[in-house]
Symmetry: C2
Subunit: 235 residues, 2 copies
Amino acid sequence: MVAQGYRRKPGAPGLTHVPGTDAPPGALAVAVIVVIFTIEDDQLKALLVRRSAPPEEGTWALPGGLLATTEEPEAAATRKLLEETGVSDVFLEQLYTFSGLDATRRAVAVSYFALVQHDSVRMRASEEWQPAWVALDDPGPLAFNNERVLGYARERLRAKLEYSNVAYSLLPQRFTLSRLQRVYEAIGGRPLDKRNFRRRMLSLRILQPTGLRAREGAHRPAQLYEFTSRVPTVF
Amino acid sequence: MVAQGYRRKPGAPGLTHVPGTDAPPGALAVAVIVVIFTIEDDQLKALLVRRSAPPEEGTWALPGGLLATTEEPEAAATRKLLEETGVSDVFLEQLYTFSGLDATRRAVAVSYFALVQHDSVRMRASEEWQPAWVALDDPGPLAFNNERVLGYARERLRAKLEYSNVAYSLLPQRFTLSRLQRVYEAIGGRPLDKRNFRRRMLSLRILQPTGLRAREGAHRPAQLYEFTSRVPTVF
DNA sequence: CCAAAAGTGTTGCCGGTACACCCATGG
DNA sequence: CCATGGGTGTACCGGCAACACTTTTGG
């Protein structure tokens, strides 16, 4: 079971919000970038923030920042995620380490990607950052070549869905097979056959019918399933 | 919870000597580690060096070192590879970014893995470093928890072999199917059926018969093949 | 009764695996 | 003539893709 908390520590140390301020000039800095995915309105979306300081002030970027010497990259990513969304204890995985993203300084950026269930998020309401969920079709131009990071994350997620149970991180504990299918379709980017999808999921033995039924609209109430394991598992 | 296949242990990267490195004490250093694989005597081996300075002086470690602020991690990896083996222009891919490998200093280690064809190597003859090819069954204890890095690299290589043509990097341009099969067996760690292996490889359309034949022992000369593409390609 | 979504089987194809014998060569 | 490795085919099985209609419900 995934516990999710909403507490956030304001002004936590470790990341300088604005790459460009501290860190000795000439030194090789280490930054962290977190791609936070969620499903909203049956669409795959990522969390972006608006940069409030140079360089690239005013453009959209992925959450992240420079790393203080006292924090591990993974811890920084976890903290960033918590600060932005209020969730912790969710799927988080290292993605890739980029260099040369920021033309204005020499830095190495360790990127992570996280999956959060959309309605457990309590988004930070910040005038300064204006965090927003953005659908991945039209992300528009991003700061620091973050398109590359985003594209890479998306590709990895797509692949991961095929051979692991990570989808549990994007859905509430109980859900219908149709809902699950829409998640797969949103991430895979193409429609799936209903019967084949159901057969496949059920034969994987990663789903359990709960006996409960969802009664959501003007139609037949659907069986609710849950994942047998809510820990990342490879098939 | 972090979905990452490797449990964190205290430890460190192969921080060996890199010219022009003098990270200020207390600063977060960036290191590079390169896992260089080759096939020798039908065995998968990795290149190790003996540390000639503290910490962990005298123990075996993967090649690598602290990064000068003027060098990109990938360039540093390429350079390391060249210095140790004399080869360039081979398969090299980023692996993972570790932190906390070296208990004696705060550092982040960006790791890479490379595949080299064994007889194109001109190993550096160094009293100080004593570079050596070590079979992966018995790597013995390594400095800085480099076992973790090595194990990860090995796993990645195994997976990669299944869905890409990277094997070309481990073999000379022309080779027999039996030789190729031994490479797959060495990396996969289990014997393969000859007929199935041949059918599979040929049906992938990544091999071309050259018409030439290898006459190597007291047996029937074998057809020599080559890869249709010597660029990393996914099936 | 209508709209909306839930639910349900069969068939063909393809890739993977198991399995055993003959052939060409050099010594 | 013998030892060594090269080279070849078939049968079964399981997963994947294509494909359409009936049922339940709320309004």
